[in-house]
């Protein structure tokens, strides 16, 4: 079990109601930051089945085929943590997950899209959509996947790390640009 990557390492749950697990894909961005070949996320408000249905929902909202499940599991984890603290949210998420149907995760993408379009205007879908954007696209796994390099202060900025390395267009003449620091 030591080889499991606990994505929720910072706050281990005393009593888990469910769990999401998966394998780290060799050579993936996650493999670079993960400590082992598998990962697991404990759930404190949702069941494993609910977690799996929501995983399929989040993948349908933001379908990045080569982005591994662990990135999506972080969204479910964030929703689960909030649901554990907010009874109203928990009820909405659990009812929403149940409403997706037992076999939602097994359906073809086109069928999942059609099912979600029917509930798109509702609070459940919109909550899950915002949570997806907030969490999925803010994780180190996603940053690595999308090639986003994030904060640069700790690395001395992008001044000498490619802020002007584009070569497929002409350089800007000096009068409309400016010198590098230290140059005249």
């Amino acid at each position: 079990m030591e080889t499991l990557v606990r994505l929720d390492r910072r706050e281990m749950l005393k009593t888990a109601t469910g769990v999401l697990t998966g394998l780290v894909v060799a050579g993936s961005p996650l493999a670079l930051i993960a400590g082992g070949p598998a990962w697991a996320v404990d759930l404190g408000a949702l069941t494993s089945a609910e977690g799996a249905a929501l995983m399929a929902m989040v993948r349908t909202i933001a379908p990045h085929d080569k982005l591994e499940d662990a990135a999506y599991a972080l969204v479910i984890q964030a929703v689960d943590r909030e649901a554990a603290k907010d009874e109203g949210l928990r009820k909405m998420i659990r009812e929403g997950a149940a409403g997706l149907g037992a076999d939602f995760a097994g359906k073809a993408e086109s069928e999942r899209v059609e099912a979600l379009k029917k509930i798109e205007s509702g609070a459940f879908f919109q909550t899950m959509r915002i949570k997806t954007l907030l969490t999925l696209y803010a994780s180190p796994i996603a940053y690595a996947y999308f090639g986003y390099e994030g904060e640069a202060f700790s690395k001395g900025g992008y001044l000498y790390r490619g802020f002007n390395d584009l070569r497929w267009l002409a350089e800007v003449p000096a009068e409309d640009s400016g010198p590098m620091p230290g140059q005249r």
């Binding site: 959509r129 696209y137 390099e149 904060e151 900025g157 001044l159």
Partner: protein, 522 residues
């Protein structure tokens, strides 16, 4: 830093510490005038700025409850957040992108030049362009604006190279890396820009000008400034004589406090400033303080914004480098034949993850939405910054149905766009699309309207007392010792990002206040 007693009635009380309030605080204290600054937010520093986008947003942003009405898209896309500005010491100069264009002469004569346009409340500025230019020059020197006073421009970033090449193919001529209050080399004791691209999260180099680490510590070193952070003004009080004499506020512990004042200057950004005046209603001022004209909160302007994204075959890495490091200024002119009055700038921009999918892209989900993120590396960005039309019914009011944490009515922001606003935006989106397509964009995406960042004109300067809230010095028409010292006083917004104008007007107002005090008239 000074400690000024609450019953000391000799102090000038400034509400807000941003471009207007922070500038004014230093200009007064350096003349020996005692000043209390009440700032609703906490004090951060270059050391404490978070570099996690979501955290930084929470650290700096004004997130108190607000409501909206009206037909503009932001009321639907961002119902609880009409505007995006700061709640922290230094105000919105902490997260601003440092663009410092000047207003043009004709923009300050909007009513005369544009004519009587139905459905607007246009008036001319009571300040001449020539007069404002003197203070623009002072402000630019103090802030270290690029391409002014011998300071060079910023070096061109990847994102700018795309904008530049496209603009040149269209024949645009006024295209450069902008007039920015960001140091290309060390200046005024502040470091140079290392092209982090995290301007909006607070500049950890201090290369971007902010009152947080320029005017405010300088004012503190005079020994005349008592800066009280986490102190939210809730009411300005007045005496029998109709002059203001105290400010009531809640301190960090939520306790009500009262600071006596010789003069009060309100600089709380274009929504909170009119809100505070309206909250200060009394038997003598039943419609709110300085509101005999019924103009407080009206004519709210926000400038026409909107993102345009170009997706290319090859990488751009738009996030590397100064966020707003470039501008096309060729559309800053008035030519009604284009289908609208007023002009606009096309400014370089990009957004981080996850801000791009949250506010930068059109609403969506599924394959097409995901495609844009899959191509984030190859994306270049621009932002419209155009003049919007003042309208009497576009206004900040008190929503008495919804209360804030202190039990006070929250501000409601009502905006119905004028047809001119929509025509200008459409033109700008068309031109920006052409710029990107000229250099081979395989797809151009028009973003939604973001929450307003340039909240202005809601307590405007006017020649005639019935048409505005203050005179040409930001002194309210109704109350002799009450001043407005932020973007609320702009008579019309023009197409220039407002901070430089706010600083210039604050410098000018400070001279006026010092003169009035020395002459014993206030």
């Amino acid at each position: 830093m000074a400690r000024i007693e609450q019953n000391d009635a000799s102090a000038v009380v400034i509400i807000g510490s941003g471009a207007g309030g922070g500038t004014l605080a230093y200009e007064l204290t350096r003349q020996g005038i005692p000043v209390v600054v009440l700032e609703a937010g906490k004090r951060q520093s270059t050391a404490t700025f978070s570099q996690v986008p979501g955290e930084a947003f929470g650290q700096l942003t004004w997130l108190d409850r607000r409501t909206q009405s009206g037909s503009w898209d932001v009321a639907k896309s961002s119902p609880n957040m009409p505007a995006w500005h700061c709640k922290t010491v230094g105000g919105t100069t902490v997260h601003w992108t440092a663009a410092c264009p000047r207003l043009e002469l004709w923009e300050m004569k909007a009513r005369s030049v544009y004519g009587n346009i139905a459905g607007t409340s246009l008036i001319d500025w009571p300040v001449s362009h020539e007069e404002l230019l003197k203070y623009y020059e002072m402000a630019e020197k103090k802030m270290g604006v690029t391409r002014r006073n011998g300071i060079p421009g910023m070096p061109a970033s990847n994102n700018f190279k795309v904008m530049y090449a496209g603009a040149k193919k269209l024949g645009y001529r006024k295209v450069h890396t902008g007039h920015l209050a960001i140091n290309p080399k060390t200046f005024d004791g502040r470091g140079f820009c290392i092209q982090q691209g995290f301007c909006v999260q607070g500049c950890k180099m201090g290369a971007k000008w902010s009152t947080l680490y320029t005017d405010i510590p300088r004012a503190e070193r005079t020994g005349k400034l008592d800066l009280r952070s986490e102190c939210m003004a809730s009411r300005i009080e007045h005496g029998e004589d109709g002059k203001v004499n105290a400010v009531v506020y809640r301190d960090a512990q939520g306790q009500e406090q009262r600071q006596k004042a010789r003069i009060v200057c309100v600089a709380g950004n274009g929504i909170e400033t009119p809100r505070l005046l309206l909250l200060s209603e009394s038997a003598k001022f039943p419609k709110g303080l300085a509101n005999s004209s019924d103009q407080v909160g009206r004519n709210y302007c926000h400038q026409i914004n909107g993102f345009v994204w170009g997706f290319f075959e090859k990488p751009v890495y738009s996030w590397r480098g100064v966020t707003l490091g470039g501008v096309i200024e060729d559309e800053v002119f008035n030519e009604p034949k284009r289908g609208f009055v007023g002009g606009y700038r096309m400014e370089l921009v990009t957004l981080d993850l996850p801000t791009l999918p949250l506010v930068g892209l059109p609403y969506g989900w599924g394959r097409d939405f995901a495609w844009m993120l899959e191509n984030y590396r190859n994306m270049a960005g621009m932002l419209i910054n155009g003049e919007d039309m003042p309208r009497a019914e576009n206004r900040v009011t008190l929503n008495r149905e919804v209360k804030d944490a202190h039990g006070l009515p929250v501000p409601n922001v009502h905006v119905d766009e004028h047809a001119n606003d929509q025509a200008l935006r459409k033109h700008a989106q068309g031109q920006m699309t052409k710029v990107f397509e000229a250099v081979g964009a395989k797809r151009v995406v028009l973003g939604p309207l973001p929450p307003a960042t340039h909240n202005t004109c809601s307590a405007r300067m006017s020649e005639k007392p019935e048409e505005g809230v203050t005179n040409a010095w930001g002194r309210t028409h109704d109350v002799k010792n009450l001043y407005i010292s932020d973007g609320s006083v702009l008579t019309t917004p023009g197409s220039a990002n407002p901070t430089l104008t706010i600083v210039a007007l604050a410098l000018r107002q400070a001279e006026h206040i010092v003169g009035e005090m020395k002459a014993g008239r206030i």
